[in-house]
């Protein structure tokens, strides 16, 4: 079994969850105005001139949260698109500004490490600071604060630039620090010094740290949230079926679309911009 299959799959799963989590509203016709109770007399309260409608940037304040929510959703879809190896994230149920994540380290000094983390996104995103990454358990690493578990992300994103910087880059960075060790201006000086002076000791400390982290893998999530990532030992009753579904789904991705009635039409020959240019349509014109 290729672990990458699982990974890809889980990311998709997460995406599905995400979609399901989006608010499901009853369908309404176009140009829907909210309904009012019947027999309500029209209230013609003169608009108070005091309330100016335009807030900063010329947008209405009441739409601000929508922009934020969709910006974060867009970031999340970018993460899915990137298919970052060994990294899974999932926005929390309670807030789109907090994402739960886990990194699997496949090789190198931190091989076999499974590190859970949380991403905190500033609420003035994308115009604020860069998102923060905090490991559940402080991993022994020069760039990870030994007390808080926070990864030094800011060194890579000195200034967060909208459009240029994306959250997937932060996640990518969080993964890379485990493969390419940087000891400059460390948050954990002990680790930095050891890496530079006594790699063997550093290695053994890392192995210890990885062991510690993995021993807490099945712990309850640190943050109580329905979408928090939690691990459990393999339970055939639960996991076999899920695994089966993942793999069958993967083999026949097209099947899902066949039953759908919504289908477009095209008689355009690929590579042409002529209508009805497909060969089978020679009978007319």
């Amino acid at each position: 079994i290729n672990p990458y299959d699982y990974e890809e799959q889980s990311v998709q799963q997460i995406a599905e969850q995400q979609q399901r989590a989006s608010p499901s509203r009853p369908s309404f016709g176009k140009k829907q105005l909210p309904t009012i109770p019947k027999n309500t007399a029209p209230i013609t309260k003169p608009a108070s001139p005091a309330t100016t409608t335009q807030s900063i940037n010329g947008t209405h304040a009441s739409y601000g949260p929508f922009y934020l929510e969709y910006s974060l959703l867009a970031e999340f879809t970018l993460v899915i698109k990137q298919k970052l190896p060994g990294i899974y994230v999932q926005p929390s149920y309670k807030s789109a500004l907090m994402w739960f994540g886990v990194i699997f380290i496949r090789h190198g000094l931190y091989q076999d490490g499974v590190f859970k983390f949380t991403v905190y996104i500033p609420d003035n995103y994308p115009d604020g600071e860069c998102p923060r990454v905090v490991f559940d358990i402080p991993v022994f690493h020069p760039l990870v604060d030994p007390v808080s578990g926070e990864l030094d992300v800011r060194r890579a994103f000195t200034k967060w630039r909208r459009n240029h910087n994306h959250i997937w880059q932060v996640l990518m960075y969080a993964r890379t620090v485990f493969y390419k060790i940087n000891t400059m201006e460390p948050l954990n000086p002990e680790a930095a010094v050891l890496y530079d002076k006594d790699v063997q000791l550093f290695k053994s400390k890392v192995v210890e740290s990885v062991k510690l982290c993995n021993s807490h893998l099945f712990d309850q999530p640190k943050i109580d949230d329905p979408y928090a990532i939690s691990f459990s030992p393999w339970n055939p009753a639960v996991h076999d079926e899920a695994k089966e579904r993942m793999f069958t789904h993967k083999r026949r991705p097209e099947d899902h679309h066949k039953g759908l009635q919504v289908s477009g039409l095209s008689w355009v020959k690929p590579g042409s911009t002529q209508p009805f240019s497909k060969d089978e349509n020679s009978q007319q014109s």
Binding site: Q12, A15, S24, G29, K30, K31, Q32, L33, P34, T35, I36, P42, I43, T44, A47, T51, G58, T59, H60, S62, Y63, F66, Y67, Y70, S71, A74, T77, L78, I80, K81, K94, L97, Y120, D123, R132, V147, R162, N163, H164, H166, Q169, M172, T176, I223, H257, S263, G264, L265, S266, W267, V268, K269, G271, S272, T273, P275, F276, Q283, Q284, S285
Partner: protein
Amino acid sequence: MMMASMVANGNRDGQALVLTGVDPETCMIVFKNHWAQVVKILEKHDPLRTTNHLVSGLGSIGLSGSHVRFGGPVPGDEASAVQNYVEHMLFLLMEEDAGQAGAMGPILEFVVMENVMERLFLWSLRRQFTDDMKLEQLKMYEMIVGQARQPLLHHKPVLRPLMMLLSSCSGTPTPRVEAELVLLLNQLCCVLAKDPSVLELFFHTSEDQGATNFLIFSLLIPFIHREGQVGQQARDALLLIMSLSAENQRVAQHIAENTYFCPVLATGLSGLYSSLPTKLEVSSEEWHCLHREDWLQMPALVQFLNSLEFCNAVIQVAHPSIRDQLVNYIYNGFLVPVLAPALHKLTLEEVMTTTAYLDLFLRSVSEPALLQTFLTFILLHRHENVHILDTLVSRVNTPFQLGTVSLALFRTLIGLYCEDVMLQLILRYLVPCNHMMLSQRRVVKERDCYSVSAAKILALTPSCCSPEHSPPPLRQLDSILWSKGNESKTEESCLEDGSGHSCIIGSEIYLDVSYLHYLYDARLGISSCIRACRVWSAPYDGEDPPPDEYQASLELEWDDSYDAGPPANAETTAAERPAQPLAPEPPKHIQALRRTATMLVKGSYIEESDFQDDVMVYNLVAKKDVRDTLDGRRSSQETESKGSETESQLNDNGHGFADSSREVQEVPLSNGLSLPLQRATVEVGSDTERSKEVKENIADHNSKVQSPTATDIGDELVAQYEELIRTLGGGEVGAGTEGREPFQNPIVTPTEEDEMDFGSFSVDTPEVDKHAPSLFGTKLRSGSARSQPLPFTGPFVSVLLSRLENMLENSVHVNLLVTGILAQLAAYPQPLLRSFLLNTNMVFQPSVRSLYQVLASLKNQIEQLASTRKDFPELITSAQHCLLARESSLIGHGKTMSSPPQLKTISMARTEVFATVLFTEFLKELAAIAQEHSILSHIPMEE
């Protein structure tokens, strides 16, 4: 008579009960006994005994219908005795089970050996072969075919008399016989469908009789277009044969080659169409398409739709050879000779009616091959050298109901998610990417990560309509708990004490709840569109199809009367066409466009006949353009512009030249035209040759434009053109927005790049592409641009935007249609379309009018209006209530021709108030679509 009534009463069950206990041998004995009695009577009246005249099967059929008597009348008691016996015999036959291994049961074997059925048929022929007799025989077969426990039709002695009976019923039977005949035929087809082996026998029997027809089939054809139950049964029966044909080459071949099935079907459509009313009685002004409730009350239309539905079904199930033939006949026998002329009738009402029919037909047809036929007709057929599509597009701009009905037709067309339609309507004008600044090509695929476009669209909300201004029942500003991740301090403390990370705080924010509905609708709309467009041949993302490859082809295809000028000016420039040697007279559709555009000339409604005078047309158009330009300039001077003087000047010029619209004053918003001069001038040197040419062209153009009445502003126009040339000179002007808009900002400080040091970062990031120098492109562009006419996004977009532009004068219903169509278009996932309609940061060529520009100009008109009318806020509120009531009444009763009473009472003065409310809602709709695009278009769809 007895037997017929007994059969009709269907008291067979009682008999069956009696028979269940009886052993087969007894049955056989009874049957033989009865037959012996019958034969006695039959022989007594056998004409062979009295005369020597031999009646052969076919010979007697020739006499069908006439009253044939042999040897005098049969006494009544004898006739009824025979009936009684036969009745019992048939029951015995029906109830007999097949023998072992499918062998005939003894009774059936006897029937076959003794040729019982044929002799009974001849007997009935010998008596008066009246309708009653036919009915009797038909019902007899109907019963045994439908209810026998063993297959009877496999045996010639059963089948042959049946065929004789059937052919005796051909010709012009009476309604009673018809009904029974079709019922029997339907039943036979059911048997055929279940047991195709019988089919061969039907063919063979026909051949034996010297007839080459597939009799059952030929008999059904006359009933194809019949209304009522008989027609329906006949069509059902034919459909059974059609699905047989899909499997059976011989049947297919026979139908296609030896029958008139396809021509009858297709020409039948023409016949039925001719009996449709040529003018519809339209109940209200807002009516724009035929709903079910409407056509159910028009029997002729119901009948037509039945036949059309039948064609649809045949095409669905029949053998490809039949399908192709039928589709061809429909094209050449109905669409071209009947529908095309009908679409070009003389009066507006007739044309409107035809358009409404066409729309209804398109909505009724579901089978791709048939849809393709209709669409080929619309997209490719030329009537009097003009494409049907061009004619239809040109009519959208008619201020009469024809315009609204045409809009409804396009709503249907766009709703088909058909690549060919979208290609012809819009995409082929966008594929070459000439409508945007060259630098913008790489922006096409970009998505709006931060809802910038949505914010810009919503920022156009008129101040009188902002959510904060409306009283509670109209805007639900519900407080929603909007959770946030916590600030760092508390969070860190949480980490330390490990007391669970419940560090989520909620803040209450007032939200426009109706916007959530728009988001939901947008999500549904876009997802189904994305799903539907999976079958398309290309993504239309500015790279595939490659823009440069399709530059030339477009020019060849497109009638350059359109290209000669920007959309709104097309009419003006067309004025010079007649003088040119290549085009002695503008094509009809151009004339039509010109006509309809002219009819739009504000305030002046002119009878159609007046438009015969071309000179007058040109004058009117020129007047309109001049006035609009002047209006635009005046208002732009009045309006205080936030932008720099140069910028506003440029905007002004661009607009005045581009589309003579009244949107000029919206300086900071019309981003498409905010081109910083310092950049523009950089490359002028390299492009001088081209600039010169453009200059010449424009000067030429200009001289003609002003010739009718516009001499007074000629100098101003020249000045505008000169400004324009300067901007065109710099191919890279698009990058100009960089400073203001972070979206355009590709610059990365080198230190950052070094520090990051992730090769993978550059993979797949759209931002990286921005570094690519576009000098290459610039060259290419300037080279190819020489032969290029002014950029144009096609007549449909042009016409649609100009209807939107008139939003404040439009009725509610027109506005609902126009905004509905635009929202439909905006939901298409193709980046070319999406970026053109929704990306407010795109920089378009000055001659291209964007949706955003039109919206911005509308906003300004509304603000102006609101400032001049004190009671505007109250009017808005009551209009909102009115629309709400309309909405709920629509939800309650479904859409009908009759309109809710409230809207009828609107005074004309209030049109603009309603338009304002709709405008605000439309902004939300568009913004919601833009937002959903940013998260939907790029996810591989999972279910």
